[in-house]
Subunit: 340 residues, 2 copies
DNA sequence: TTGTAGGCGTTATCAG
DNA sequence: CTGATAACGCCTACAA
């Protein structure tokens, strides 16, 4: 492999001068610089990061730990956000996936140490509380889309499920809806409770009576193998004497079944039934007809901001655990209309 | 940072002996080994990959280049497959995303060189023909879910869209369906033509007359901003005098709209209309009611096998470009019934 | 403005 | 079985 020495030889300078050129340091004649650059091009020289790192003990690398990539593919946007930030700031990304196995997690932290990773982004694919098995390696870490349970060591950045559900509920209320159905997310998801709380609180603030609210459980059980009651729940809801004029769905995916239930009963969307989702999982929300009004989970921003934050922690060294929240933007499409 | 030297000092041996223990080399007394291992534990020593690499000029790292992660989230399973193989074989994964920008791609290859990556997995998120901007860096590469156009340099591994569509078509035919609708995938996707060909060929082999086939375009235009005709096409198809008894959908996502169109027209699935999808994008195929019969794109296997293959190439050094294909397994659910 | 000497943490070589 | 010493490619410190 061609190294700095061969370049130096070809350019007829010392290796230190080559190093200067590579790193854009001052005090190099324009003429020397050009000669070196030519040699670099001619030889196809590319600096060796490993060697560089060994001297400077900074790897300029971030590690990403994810859990279940496959069951919830949407949240890969978090990773995209991280990558974009990393790319724009000259960082490299090392990726590892636990698959939910905690021994595996410990190994990963070891591997990260081995690579002298500067910092770790601990990413979960759905919003939840976790207990990372760091093995106490002391690498600065930011948690994304999750929050530490027992240990308060790490800062975290999460979507604002509460505000998102609040905005959606208000949106429905402002469109005149009062009899509203709610089909709940799997309770093991952190968002489930926050969204429901927001729904309850907001309808209460608007003076909607409890009896106008029909709240049903849509799913439960372990992620990836959950029991699914959405279709039945929606069907039952819509067969009530005073059926709701709108249904709020735990998420977009569940909204598919609500559409199907409504259409099967001969109801038109949105004229007879308004529906809102949550997540803005576009493969679904834009495939539904009419397209689904929903609240967008800020996955990309979570990743981008998380990476930025982590980088800040590295220089500041004041890694106070704290929690940040990113808003969920309401995406207005065509699945809601004003009550007639 | 604690290095091999400190370990050696504590264990009262030379650094080379420590190295031997770490790498599981023979010719170390059991007793010495234990003393060294104790020192490693006590000091919390973790080997420095960068230093190791600098000596052995093998990074044990694979790079993954992806294109548009976000628009097609399902195919992240490819990445999971790669990670699982890498994990089981002690390789590290460096990840980068082009976002479809080719200058970015060139940079990525440079970065990979910088890290002395052993090999590259070039992954696209949908099945297509590509023209990688390698900058001719000569890193062994396997292309996954895509195929090189102009240059024949790299081996590739792809899903067998033809066989998948063939199986689905046969399945419908064996259930007695003869009047069959087909809603086509975006033609810029490589799978579009292969799937349609299989459909045409297989129906022909079964002696189905052309006039019983209704083929419509479902989508077109650039990925991420395509025009969507699925709902209208399905509606039109189902309003024909002799409407099809089954519709084959370009993919699962498009099947959502076919469901909605059918239900809106008062048709029951599958009694009045059978539907099959393609991809087995489970967030959709299992959310639809009745659940969707489809052909599973073997994303995980593509990744896993691709990584394995790449590794083989590294030792064999006979990187003959060739193309491999992985079958798409038919997943039978509840959206098809026998014609009455 | 440029060059020299030394060392980062490993592993390879070869001698003991 | 074990150890001393050199070398990998780069950067820091210092000297010229």
């Amino acid at each position: 492999m061609v190294s700095i020495v061969s370049v130096a030889k070809v350019a007829g300078v010392s290796n230190k001068t080559v190093s200067r050129v590579i790193n854009g340091e001052p005090y190099v004649t324009e003429e020397t610089r050009e000669r070196v650059e030519k040699a670099i091009r001619d030889l196809g020289y590319v600096p060796n990061m490993a060697a560089r790192q060994i001297r400077s003990s900074r790897s300029n690398t971030f590690g990403i730990i994810t859990d279940y990539v496959s069951t919830t593919p949407y949240s890969v946007d978090i990773v995209r956000g991280i990558q974009d930030w990393a790319n724009a700031n000259g960082k490299t990304i090392l990726m590892a996936n636990t698959g939910g196995v905690s021994e595996r997690e410990a190994e990963i932290w070891k591997t990260f140490q081995s690579h002298r990773i500067d910092g770790v982004l601990y990413v979960t694919m759905y919003h939840r509380i976790v207990d990372p098995e760091t093995g106490n390696v002391g690498i600065p870490t930011v948690m994304i889309n999750c929050r530490p349970q027992t240990n308060e060591l790490f800062p975290s950045i999460e979507p604002d499920d509460y505000q998102g559900a609040q905005d959606l509920t208000r949106y429905l209320l402002e469109k005149g809806h009062r009899r509203i159905g709610y089909i709940r997310l799997n309770p093991i998801l952190l968002g489930a409770e926050m969204r429901l709380d927001a729904f309850r609180q907001t309808t209460w603030e608007f003076g909607v009576s409890e009896s106008d609210l029909s709240i049903r459980l849509g799913m439960e059980g372990p992620v990836g193998a959950e029991k699914n009651y959405v279709f039945e729940a929606a069907t039952e809801l819509l067969q009530q004497k005073d059926r709701p004029t709108a249904i709020m769905s735990g998420n977009d995916e569940m909204a598919i079944q609500i559409y199907i239930a409504a259409l099967t009963l001969g109801l038109r969307i949105p004229q007879d039934l308004s529906i809102v989702g949550f997540d803005d999982f576009r493969t679904v929300s834009m495939a539904l007809k009419p397209e689904l009004t929903t609240a967008a989970l800020p996955y990309y921003d979570l990743g981008f901001e998380g990476a930025k934050w982590l980088n800040g922690l590295l220089s500041d060294a004041m890694i106070r655990p704290s929690s940040r929240v990113v808003p969920c933007k309401l995406v207005e499409r065509a699945s809601v209309c004003r009550t007639q």
